[in-house]
Structure formats: structure tokens, C-alpha cells
Subunit: 195 residues, 2 copies
Amino acid sequence: MSLRYALLALLTAQPMTGYDLAKAFHVSVGHVWHAPDSQIYPELKRMVADGLLRDESVPWGASSTKTQYTVTDEGVDAFRAWMDEPIEYARERDPAHLRSAYFEWADPDVARRHLHEHIAHYELRRAQWQSQLNAIRTRSHPILARRLETDTRHDPDAVVEFKVFTYEGFLDRAEGEIAWARHGLDLLDRLHPRD
Amino acid sequence: MSLRYALLALLTAQPMTGYDLAKAFHVSVGHVWHAPDSQIYPELKRMVADGLLRDESVPWGASSTKTQYTVTDEGVDAFRAWMDEPIEYARERDPAHLRSAYFEWADPDVARRHLHEHIAHYELRRAQWQSQLNAIRTRSHPILARRLETDTRHDPDAVVEFKVFTYEGFLDRAEGEIAWARHGLDLLDRLHPRD
DNA sequence: TATACCATGTAATAAGTTACATGATTTG
DNA sequence: CAAATCATGTAACTTATTACATGGTATA
């Protein structure tokens, strides 16, 4: 259900075609709420059916068209209403920690490999989030820049600060996961010293 | 797919009936990989069909029976094999951070409420994980205690240490989330000072 | 004119959620 | 003997994943 609000959030910056939106999604809000194209397109259609978006055919090339989506007033209301609703936390479901809890069943080198991959995974995420954060801080992030131009109802500093705050949270999380995995590597060295 | 390995992990401590297993699940591995009873019972059946578990009818009361599940050799092999497989990280999908990224659309007090609830949520989780951790450290956790009795192939210290390591990771995470939300509250006070 | 990429999906499957159902047994 | 809890689910639904499909347009 959050997907539709992620899409709505993105479209409040500017109307977009499905394709542009999908691309923009993957380099912005998709870092917070992932979804594949195959989930995005049908959801857009549903949102039109529910009155949250308006769709228009715009010409593409000589004889073809593409669909552009614009948030309706009802869509804006729905987005605001969503903001008031309590956050639904997903239950814990963590593949890395499930594995680590039973590392006694793994070869120590396999356990090490998992932890190294954990570090690599979060180093990659960290780099992605960091580059988002930089682009947000300098206001050079294209979607944010567009949003700052078109959005007259909100304090631009607040718009930026909330996104900075969000991505800083992810960065801290990545740091935490990396530190945790390093601890695990130390533990493995203690339990199974290498020569 | 991880659910079956969470169940397998639990059943390596001792054979259990479906009901006992479901109860034990919720106070142990369910803290790492949540699943409702309605997902557990059918999965157990499937695991029997796949040869990972053996089921036996044991008497219950005068004229009734219940089903007890035991890990087969094939089940142990499957569990070990799973340990070698790469961890599949779920894509980011974070309802709290999705919300916070667009807090400019929320009333400042609503945003504050969300952050306070975030703190409350992770304080609760922290307490749960902390009590798990204490029970593990003192080896008084009933399932762990049983595991330490029955499991002769693994170093008991390692069995304990890996679980400690896992839950310490969760505790750090909870601390991080709480600190993040407090930052958010500071930010809100900066942007929207209260009298 | 081939290749990249624009544009929009569908189909099949898997996984997870919510709500409900039902009867048996133990215990106070 | 009523209440708690033991025991085991099913049904309906929603969400998400994976893989594939198809044709058009711009560009080198």
C-alpha cells in the first residue's frame, strides 16, 4: 500500500510519463521504497481508476503516444491523509541475522564470506545513499530541484532538511551494519583462529 | 523461503509438536524471522512432503493425537546447504523513512507523533531483544538450554556467542533508530519552534 | 540499418496477512 | 462445568517477484 504513496510523492514534484516516472523512481524514492517497473505500471493505472491521478496521452514521435500522469486534488488529499495515518511497521524478517544466529552450522570460512558480503552490501548501499545525500544537500538532485521550483506551499529548507534527515538515517544504519559484521569477523577469529 | 530454515533451525534443538513449535517460534527465532501460525502449520506439512521433516502422531489425552515433527538427515543436510548459499537481501522498503522524507506535507505535530511512535516502537523491540539476550547470555533461555544439551557436534560457547552476536546487532539497530528519531524531533523543533 | 533505449506491460508464481473456524482437553 | 488453552488449520486477499513480451523511436 505504501507504493502508491511513494508514487504520489514523486508525482507531486511534477507530472511525468510512466516511463520517466519509473526511471525517476529508481534514482529517488525507490531508494527508500523499492518497486520494480512491473509493479509501478499497474499501480499507476489503479491510481487513475481511484481518482488519485489523471492520465493524458501525449504525442511521442510522429505516430505514437505515451501516457502522462498528473496528481489530482484528490490525490493530494490522499497523500496528506496518509501522512496522518500511523506507520505500519513490518515484522522483523532479517535473512542476514537469521543466518548469523546459527553460524555454528556453517564452516567458519563460509560465515566469514557472509559477513564480508554483508559489509560489501552495506558499503554499496552507503555509497548510493551518500551520493543521494550529496545531491540533496547541494540541491542538485534533478527531481528535488524540480520540486523546489514547483512547490510553493512548503518551506524549501524544510523540504531539503527532511530528505537529508531521512538519508542520514540510512547512512547511520549502513554504518551500524558494517560495524556489526566487523564484530562478527572478530568473533570468528576468536572462535576459530587462523594461522 | 527463509521460513523453512527458521523452522529447521528451531527443530534442530529438539523434536516438537506443531503447537509447541509455533509457541517456541514466537519466543525465539520468530524475533529474527517473524511468521504467523497460519504460515507455520502449512509450511511444516510441506517440509514433511519434501522429506526435511518426519511427522509422528503422538497421543494427546485419552482419544486424541497431535503431530510431532523431527528433523530428518535430509533436513539437516538442507539446513547446512542453506548455510552455504548467498544471503538474499530484501530491497529497501521502509515505511518510517518514506514518511519522514516528505514530512513537509505533515502537520509538525503529526510528524512529532510519528517520531515518538518510532521511538516507542524501537524501545519495545529493544526491551524484547534485551531480554532474549540476557536469557541467552545466562543460558537460561529454555530452547537454547535444550539445544546445548542435545547438540553434541557444536562447541557450546560458539552456539551461545553467535546468538549473542545476532541479538547485539538488533540492539544496536534499535539504538540507532531511537537516536535517528530524536534527531528528527530536534529538527522539527528547529524548523517549527514551540513556545 | 543496427543498436540502444523508449514505452508499457502480462503471466505465473511465491510469500505474507487477516480473519475466521472448530473441536478437544486440561484446570480451577 | 466453565474457561483457558491446546491443536490445527482454511479461505480470501494483498503484495511482491521473476521472467518474459512486444513494438516503437532516436541515433550513430
